[in-house]
Symmetry: C2
Subunit: 351 residues, 2 copies
DNA sequence: CCCCCTTCTCAAAACGTTTTAAAAAGCCTG
DNA sequence: CAGGCTTTTTAAAACGTTTTGAGAAGGGGG
């Protein structure tokens, strides 16, 4: 392996100049820099990470914890995020260490990783209300960025979508189409994002369609089966008046709802409108559902570049309270949403 | 953070002695070592990993790749292994970096990780016949250990179970009970372990029960659904003569088979015997199935300590061809296996 | 031509460990 | 107590970077 010294003797320069030339410092001459870069390429120079780390005091490694479900599985979205995040961090010369956790204590795996003295910081995900992790890490002065927004205006770095708006935008569309009996299949209740969506849903419904009975706001894992089961019970009419529209937390859930409608001989959007939030997982194409699915659209992986950059900035000393981004998901209207069926314009409460 | 030098001035020793004392070198006096250890504990000394790495030329980090399925999910067994492996490696002062891959090229993710110049070696898993990864890594001189055995007596380090024996032991039990029409629900055909089990199955059957028709050796993902679907079709009798015993690649598959038998009103083991191989995943308890499941038993996580140790030995220069372990799974006979039903002792071929 | 200022380069220190080569200390033998 | 051996300790080099503090080269104005 070629070292800085190899390059320096090759060119008759000092290692200091070579180091600066390669790291883009401004005080090195243009032709010198070019010579150095050429020599580095020619000799196949690769900086020794350990030496860099010793000199800079940084490890160049950040951590992320996979929280396993009880059945030892992990979220699809998690892998999508991890894949993109790895790429974005690599581009910024950081490595991502993944660790798997199946315990009950949410901070224990972070503590374990910190004890290994390997990490410069963390990427957190899936915040829950009252999440203890930010406090734990802040207390120890460990930099981190949160993927997903805890609703109570936190003082740490995060990137999230406006979940209240996700609900509000979908409800606005559906109420404009005349729908008043809209049901919600939300994400798992323990997550902060689900609480935000539920709050946004209830607020928007109260303002534009009237209050929603308990039974028509449900939640569950983001699977096709969740959507199928809940929709089947609602649409059969056994649980009370039938919703004319169902809003889903994810596209797999919406797929289940569509299947339930099909099985019951209901047409979408003739008898039922369906909308969902779309995390844009690579293997799911809501535009190709039959009918094509109306969604609020916010690709999970879009968060990765900002998260990586925020973490770098944080490591470089930027105040975390400045590193906060909330984006608004886009609304994509497709064929699964349509006008309310004639005679079904009555809200939940009056029925 | 306290450094070696801090300890050395505190005690009036040289850093060399302190370093040696803490690293267990034999040439340091007993009382000196005790003094050093006490001082280290008192000052809260933690070695600087970056400095260690620079000095030793090792990174202390090994990698492992998660190969995602097409639906972006990952094996349950994978997480079980990763959890234990992390613990075992930590105990040996190594860190595990997990990377996620969803591409088609099996070596690309390894190449990518090597380019990051972070790793000392790899843990590979899930070998396939003709796996290109060992060759790729060996060519570059990158140490690695394989979890799972490729059947063709490889020259690299590995830890695996004797998959032919897994089949043979189960078949020996079932044939002793009089069964001749035994069907196999194997693991996914692309994996080497499945090929070995299939070969062992066919060999044992040929010797003790006669050849098995194509249709009664099937494979699929290791899910309950796989077992249910296949068993339903076989036991309905539509596919030909009914098997009197079904051997399953995993316990979830066996759970599906048991459900199918239940749905068809067949008693286990009265009408059908069921056996499976048990990887001993923490959330699945074959002893509590109804009836309790007869299995060949080889906990996945038992591989982790040997794998970690082999990798260390390999990093320390042990010849990989010496680091090979094949263990034999234990046979645990429970209630799901019993004597062949009267009049059903005829083998596949004569029916 | 001198001086000053800017632009560029350099030698050396620093990061905290491990390892080498050698010296010091301790012990025994004769 | 000299000599030789073993045990214990040491100073210094090495690992390959980054960073500091200073000096050299280059250019322009007086």
């Amino acid at each position: 392996m070629a070292t800085l010294k190899d390059i320096s003797v090759e060119l008759g320069l000092s290692v200091a100049t070579v180091s600066r030339a390669l790291n883009g410092f401004p005080e090195v001459g243009a032709k010198t820099r070019a010579r150095v870069q050429a020599a580095a390429a020619r000799l196949g120079y690769r900086p020794n990470r350990s030496a860099q780390r010793l000199a800079t005091g940084r490890s160049g490694v950040v951590g992320m914890i996979v929280k396993l479900r009880a059945d030892m599985s992990a979220d699809q979205t998690f892998f999508d995020v991890v894949t993109s995040l790895t790429a974005e961090l690599s581009a910024r010369d950081l490595d991502l260490v993944l660790s798997v956790d199946q315990g009950d204590d949410p901070v224990a795996p972070y503590k374990r990783m910190l004890e290994r003295d390997l990490l410069d910081g963390f990427v957190l995900n899936a915040p829950v209300p009252g999440d203890p992790r930010p406090g734990f890490l802040a207390e120890r002065g460990v930099p981190f960025v949160m993927h997903g927004q805890a609703h109570d205006a936190p003082d740490y770095a995060f990137y999230g979508i406006d979940n209240a708006a996700v609900s509000a935008d979908a409800i606005a569309l559906l109420t404009t189409l005349g729908h008043r009996r809209i049901a919600l299949i939300n994400g798992e209740a323990r997550f902060a994002f689900a609480a935000e969506r539920a709050a946004g849903f209830h607020a928007a419904m109260a303002a534009q369609a009237g209050p929603v009975p308990q039974g028509f706001v449900a939640d569950g894992p983001p699977t096709e089966n969740t959507g199928y089961t809940l929709a089947l019970s609602w649409l059969s009419g056994r649980a009370g008046p039938r919703p004319t529209a169902i809003l889903c937390a994810t596209t797999p859930v919406a797929a289940g709802v569509l299947r339930a409608a099909r099985d019951l001989g209901l047409s979408v959007p003739g008898d039922l409108s369906v909308a969902a939030h779309d995390d844009a997982l690579p293997n799911i194409r809501p535009a190709h559902f039959t009918p094509a699915l109306t969604v609020t659209h916010a690709p999970m992986r879009d968060a990765c570049a900002p998260l990586a950059q925020m973490l770098i900035d944080h490591l470089n000393g930027a105040p975390p309270a400045r590193l906060q981004t909330v984006i608004r998901a886009g609304l994509i209207v497709r064929a699964s949403s349509g006008p309310v069926p004639k005679g079904e314009e009555t809200p939940w409460q009056t029925t």
